[in-house]
Each structure stands twice: as C-alpha cells, then as structure tokens.
C-alpha cells in the first residue's frame, strides 16, 4: 500500500479536528474534536510502523499507549467539564471569559463566580 493514502487521510482528519476545536462552543464537542486529532495521530503511527516494519512494533505500541492516555484524558476532561458546569451552569467555551482583560468595574456578569 502506498504510504501516501493513510498519511493524507490522517492529515485531513487532523485538520477536521482542529476545525472542531476552534469552531465548536460546547466543551464536550471540543473534547470530541480532540479525540479526532488523537486518532489522526494514531493512524499516522500505525502507517509508519507498517511501512518501516519495526521489529519492536514501536509505532503500534505507542498507538496503544495513546489510546490509553486518550481514555484517561477524556475521563479527566469530562470531570473538568462537569465541575465547570456545576459552578457556572454552562459549558460554552466562549462564555468562560474569566481571563479577559477588562476594567474592574465593567460588567461581564455571569462568568465571574
């Protein structure tokens, strides 16, 4: 198999994940997009492992590790999302603006707890 096929698929998948991270406002959708990006990486790893015929199977083992880490990341990410939801009643990323540079008296109501 030509290596170009899986590699291009993974590049496009990664770009779609980037779009999702940048454009979605729901934190859970952002997490899904991050999963897409991780999967693009995994596809790359597997493709190159197959191409290079690695005797130690470094690419596939690393893929397994990434899958495990991604599972842990989803668990932690969801916990954070839930904590945010509990305190702010919203998980819209673009409404969490506690980092914004505003004058102290300026009203930006709901995001400051």
């Amino acid at each position: 198999m030509h290596v170009v096929y899986p590699v291009v698929v993974s590049a496009l998948l990664f770009s779609i994940g980037v779009y999702g991270v940048l454009a979605r406002r729901n934190a859970i959708l952002v997490l899904m997009s991050v999963e897409l990006m991780l999967n693009a990486v995994n596809l790359n790893l597997v493709a190159f492992d197959v191409w290079l015929r690695d005797r130690l199977h470094g690419g596939q083992v690393l893929t397994l590790f990434v899958i495990v880490i991604a599972a842990a990341e989803v668990g932690l990410g969801l916990a954070i999302v839930l904590a945010v939801f509990r305190t702010r009643q919203t998980i819209d990323v673009d409404r969490l603006r506690a980092l914004s540079e505003r004058a102290p008296g300026e009203a930006d109501g709901e995001v400051r707890s």
């Binding site: 198999m1 698929v9 590790f65 999302v81």
Partner: protein
C-alpha cells in the same frame, strides 16, 4: 523499500478498501464537527472510529484495531454520552453549537490541511509499504510490550491511577478545596 513500488494506477484491492474506509472516516468526522445535534455528533464519532478501526485492519494492525473498537467505540463514546447527559444539554437540534469563530477556524483548518498535505505528499510520494498479514497480531505486539516497552507500560499504569483519582476528586462535590 520503495524500489519495487507499483504505480498508483490501478490501485490494489486493499488500497481501494482503505480509501473507501478513509472517505467514510473523513465524512463522519466532518459531520461530527458540523452537526447541529450533540447526540448525533457522538454517534457520528462512533462511525468515524469504527471506520478508522477498519483502516487499521487493512493496514494489518489487527490488535490496535480491536483495542480501538473496545476503548474508543466502547468506552470513550459512552463516557462522552454520559457527559452530554450530565450537563443537561439539549437533545434536539440546537443552533448555537458553533461559536462566532467559525470562519477563522475554517481558514486555519484549511490552511493547516493544505500545508500538511503538501508536505506529506511531497515527502512520501514514493513510499510503499507492502502489507504482511500477522505483523500486528496480539502475540508479537504483546511480547514487544512486555519485553521492550514494559517500563513505559508500568509508568502508564501510574498515570492512569492518577487520572482516576483526579477525575474522582474533580467530580465529587463533597470534597472542598482548601480556602
């Protein structure tokens, strides 16, 4: 490795299958990031991950493919669905899933795709990987993990434990931070 590479046309059987699965993967991924319904996004994610697992199978990485099905399709998506439910997201169609950042995000994504595809195509145009079934089976992979990669494996178990405890602490409401 690339000396005896056949031409791009006609494509071989595995290549055809992989390209079809890739098209499904990409299509469902696009639907994940564009759909107006949260739950549909999670379901399209299942399709995407499943098609990707098929791609792994074609690439002879059968153990990775099964792990993908088990963990991603089985665990991660279920977790995400739980998250959707726990945050009381609207189940039906909702118009405000995209932020005002859409056009900039699309621009950056397209530019990134262009750069990546250009670089990868120009770099690996001639690379050819003959498929050799059995290389990614459970046995060689398992022996590799528990011989060469056993130390990262153990470290990973500690990481998982930490993530477990962190998730518990974050999601329980009766544990207060120090004031």
């Amino acid at each position: 490795m690339t000396a005896q590479a056949p031409g791009f046309w006609p494509p071989s059987g595995p290549e055809i299958i992989f390209l079809l699965l890739g098209a499904v993967t990409l299509g469902s991924a696009v639907l994940v990031v564009t759909t107006r319904q949260l739950v549909h996004a999670a379901l399209w994610l299942v399709v995407c991950f499943g098609a990707l697992a098929g791609g792994y199978l074609v690439l002879t990485a059968e153990f990775v493919a099964w792990v993908q099905v088990l963990i991603y399709v089985g665990a991660v998506v279920v977790l995400l669905l739980f998250g959707i439910m726990l945050t009381r997201a609207p189940i039906g169609r909702s118009a405000d899933l995209d932020s005002g950042n859409t056009w900039a995000a699309a621009l950056v994504a397209v530019a990134m795709a262009a750069v990546l595809v250009t670089v990868l195509v120009s770099g690996f145009r001639m690379a050819y990987a003959p498929l050799d079934p059995g290389q990614g089976a459970a046995k060689p992979l398992g022996s590799s993990v528990f011989r060469t990669w056993v130390l990262p494996f153990e470290a990973l178990s500690v990481l998982l434990l930490a993530a477990l405890i962190g998730a518990i602490v974050l999601s329980r409401t009766d544990i207060k931070g120090r004031q």
